[in-house]
Amino acid sequence: MKKILKQLFAILMLAAMAAFTLAGCASTGSGGASPAGTSEGAADASETGAAPASSEEKELNVICWSEYLPDDVISSFEQETGVRINMTTYDTPDDMLAKVKSSAEGTYDMLIGPASTYVEIFNKLGMLQKLDKSLLTNYKNIDPSYLGKDYDPDNDYSVPYMGAGVVIAVNRSVIKDDIKSYQDLLKPAYANQLVVIEDSRAVVGMALMASGYDINDTSDAGLAAARDYLVKLKPNIKVFDGASPKTEMLNGECAIGLIYNAEAALAMEQDPDIECVFPQEGIYFGADGMMVFKGAKHPGNANRFINYILDAEVSASISGVFPYTNPNKAAVALLPDSYTKNEAKNVPSDVIAKSQPLKDIGDASVKIDAIWSDFKG
């Protein structure tokens, strides 16, 4: 009798363990039930005309740069539509590609990331779906100079989110001499003074521009020159930080930054000694785009969220928090002079005209990866 009881107990334990394991899998699979207060959300949504399709879960999985999409925008969209947004952030495009490629299709619904390279890359990999233009009623707000680029002639796959450039930020209380170009950064006097973003294509691209080549050059001569430049730059770099490089500028750790323009702008607001320099070789400037992945589970929500971001007031509020160059002309009209007249925030059009965007370079990207790995390691 005792033995039978023991066996019974053993079987029960086994069953319980199996049940727990399966339950664990199931709950991660469905990603939780729809949030509470759905009916309320739907009521709000119908007022704003952004009611999500009934066939879709009230959820949206977004992968976006860190420090790029304000929490307020996310929560107000959630309140208006009842759609819950799950954010995944990345600090470097390489990170993003690794995350997206190593996840199952449908893990992420949409991407906010470098358009000029990744529209092509993801299209080559067959990972994007066309945007639903019928839902993008705010598309007309976008400045036409940002549209119809050769990587996406009809903007079937991407719409611009923000324009971002990489500038040189200089703390004038530490660095007295004039910095005008990438070449000036090589001075031995600046040893251990630089904070640099972690974007491999952008940094190697700047090394190419510094050496007089095109940012997308993949010739052996060009890459050798870029490698030379980086070898000389290395002793001056104190830290790589792709997430929030302004921190190192503000806490006095670094006096020079090769950083994103909005990071520079935010640092300048807190420390008037910090100045923004556009190097004379031209800057790297590219629009980040919003794209929807093929196999997305919530494509309707994704398109609705894109349209929400394209709304003039929403877009203006994004620029208020993360002051990148706004391609949304209706939003720019709403923004105060402190934004439009600030060159670090609203990069002047003549600088943009001289800037270079990155393009997908296909198999040659292996060479850039090799240079970058050597440079950092």
Partner: protein
């Protein structure tokens, strides 16, 4: 009757070993096999792998620049281990002499920080060590130094972070071996005229050596792989084997090479364990089983 017997013996065994076996298959065997298999494949341009068979990934490991990184990592891990021994041994010896209550208090002081995420603890080190951080401000206001010390984004910062994070792994094995130390041996030595230094060198140290070895191995091996500490306190520019592997999967988009490096690291770990056993270490002290 025969089948009944079989069930009788299978069910309890399955209950006891099933969950562990399931866990091991899911989280050790399958990932390991996956890593091993892709380490022989070709890279895809944008990450991922392309089918095929090549030994090139293993050949690439023996490039001078990667060997330098291995050498640097081993050096850094050795320094970390040595510092851990130097700090942990006196501390552990000290608490082992105390009453049970005091011991518990000290051991829990070592253990409690474990309940906080190590990322958060490393962030607090950034605040302590940076140029306008707490330590520099304190030293400057006390006029000990005129210029802020450079304690972060270099090897110093990385070693501080590693020693801080891994020292409990040194203290715990040391504690168990020092506690087991037979006091009567020391008394006998004393009676026979050994001075404290001599008694320490000939009695205490040899008897606690298994604890030192076990602690050393438990500090040395993780140091090679803790890439987040080198990233955060080394400014993403100090490369350890862990960072190198991570970078192959992310920035270099060369998964097969990253996989080959992982296999190489496993071999290196096994070699360290082999050395450990050869010099008289017992795998049971590491919590493993023979």
């Amino acid at each position: 009757m025969k089948t009944r017997l079989k069930i009788k013996s299978i069910v309890p065994r399955l209950t006891m070993t099933g969950p562990v076996a399931g866990w091991m298959i899911l989280f050790v065997v399958i990932p390991f096999t996956y890593i091993f298999v892709i380490s022989f494949m070709n890279r895809g341009t944008y990450g991922g792998v392309e089918l095929g068979f090549t030994l090139q990934n293993y050949a690439n490991i023996f490039d001078a620049k990667y060997l330098m990184i291995f050498l640097n990592s081993i050096l850094l891990a050795a320094v970390t281990t040595a510092l851990c021994i130097l700090i942990a041994y006196p501390f552990t010896y000290f608490i082992a002499q105390k009453t049970a209550v005091t011991k518990t208090v000290f051991v829990s002081m070592v253990m409690i920080p474990f309940t906080v995420s190590s990322l958060v603890r490393i962030y607090s080190w950034i605040n302590l060590l940076r140029k306008d951080g707490i330590i520099n401000n304190l030293l400057m206001s006390l006029r000990v130094i005129d210029e802020p010390l450079q304690m972060i984004y270099n090897n110093f910062g990385v070693i501080v972070g590693m020693v801080y994070t891994l020292i409990p792994f040194m203290i715990l094995p040391l504690y168990s071996s020092i506690e087991k130390l037979d006091k009567s041996m020391l008394e006998a030595g004393n009676d026979l005229g050994a001075k404290p230094a001599r008694a320490f060198a000939t009695i205490t140290l040899p008897l606690t050596a298994p604890g030192i070895f076990a602690g050393a191995i438990m500090v040395f091996i993780p140091t090679l792989g803790y890439f987040f500490i080198t990233d955060m306190l080394g400014g993403s520019k100090i490369m350890m084997i862990g960072n190198l592997i991570r970078n192959q999967f992310v920035t270099a988009k060369n998964w097969p090479f990253g996989a080959a490096l992982s296999i190489f690291l496993i071999v290196l770990t096994l070699a360290a364990l082999w050395v450990y056993e050869r010099i008289g270490g017992d795998l049971e002290d590491l919590g493993g089983m023979r």
